[in-house]
Symmetry: C2
Subunit: 206 residues, 2 copies
């Protein structure tokens, strides 16, 4: 999945964190290209040009590195699509979802990584379990807040029931990713926009 996150993010790192940020960026590329399970810490260290011991100094376990990678992905998506948005303008937020879906079509490996991990991590023993549980709860809150704002501003189409919409729209986004991964002719942004437009009494901005 890749939905907007609501937590605050900073675009720059304190000086001592620079190396850590480089490692996370390299690990994100490796995980996305070849999968989390098939990527070893030795490979990550080599790709960073540091020793395994040097890597373990920053990330004692692969699980901790994964957590940092997931948070970094959220930060990038948010910075690109949502951080500049005014919470009082829910239509722009919805249009941001369509933008994000369009952007995701440019990075199938990363979309696949998240789709696999979100399913695997539903197992309580998985190292990313807490991350994904928390992420989806937060995401549903964000969507619900947007839906509530649409209701408040009278922007929902007549007869549209707001209850449960947050879960429906998140499911639609996640499910379209699976179909698109298996068949790139599936037009994620168009199908998402189509459903969002049906919910509204006004035109969804481009």
């Amino acid at each position: 999945m890749s939905h907007p996150a609501s937590k605050p993010s900073s675009g720059s790192y304190p000086k001592g964190e620079r190396r850590k940020a480089d490692i996370v960026s390299v690990a994100l590329e490796l995980f996305a290209a070849q999968g989390y399970e098939r990527t070893s810490m030795v490979q990550v260290a080599a790709a960073c040009g540091i020793s395994r011991a040097g890597l373990l100094h920053h990330f004692p376990t692969k699980e901790e590195l994964l957590a940092a990678v997931l948070e970094e992905r959220d930060r990038i998506d948010d910075a690109r699509h949502f951080d500049h948005l005014d919470p009082g303008r829910p239509l722009e937020w919805l249009a941001g979802l369509v933008d994000l879906a369009a952007f995701n079509t440019t990075q199938p490996e990363l979309v696949r990584l998240f789709a696999v991990l979100s399913a695997e991590a539903s197992s309580p023993a998985h190292p990313a379990h807490d991350y994904f549980v928390q992420r989806y709860a937060t995401t549903r809150d964000d969507y619900a807040r947007t839906v509530a704002e649409l209701v408040r501003q009278g922007l929902l189409a007549k007869g549209v029931e707001p209850e449960g919409l947050e879960a429906e729209l998140i499911a639609l986004t996640d499910g379209l990713q699976i179909q698109w991964l298996l068949d790139p002719s599936i037009d994620m942004p168009r199908l998402l926009r189509r459903r969002l437009q049906q919910l509204l009494s006004v035109r969804l901005p481009d």
Copy 2:
């Protein structure tokens, strides 16, 4: 995912196929309980009470066993939820989707297996890639046929656009499974029924 399959299925096996069917049944349980990657052919053989050589006689590779397990899962779902349905009665078919979603809440490990595999298998190198690509194409055809029948019988609510509905409904089902796996308080059958009911001009049968 778990959607109805349209291919014909038989409820009984020819005599010589009995052992193969037993192996598939055992492997399905093991894959669902501990995942495909973490299950070895040696474990499957042991759980079947046969030697590894005996297992390899029936399934020369783990990939072939996986393919058979996926087909068996489809067969079970279809026999339970769809095979008895008349294609001319699309409302019953839609109600069958809700039944299947309700049934799936009783088997989280199997739902997780399918969710992980459908995402992993989107990688062209994955042994189940062709299966999932074909499965989703067939599934979209089935849904599209049901939607066309709803249109023909005048059962779609006013203003509902049939185009793209098949992809939307499959995505909704798949996406709700992810949320439910991560948070069992998410009510898959209710949320699916809610959306299906919105599409209809008549009441969706129980």
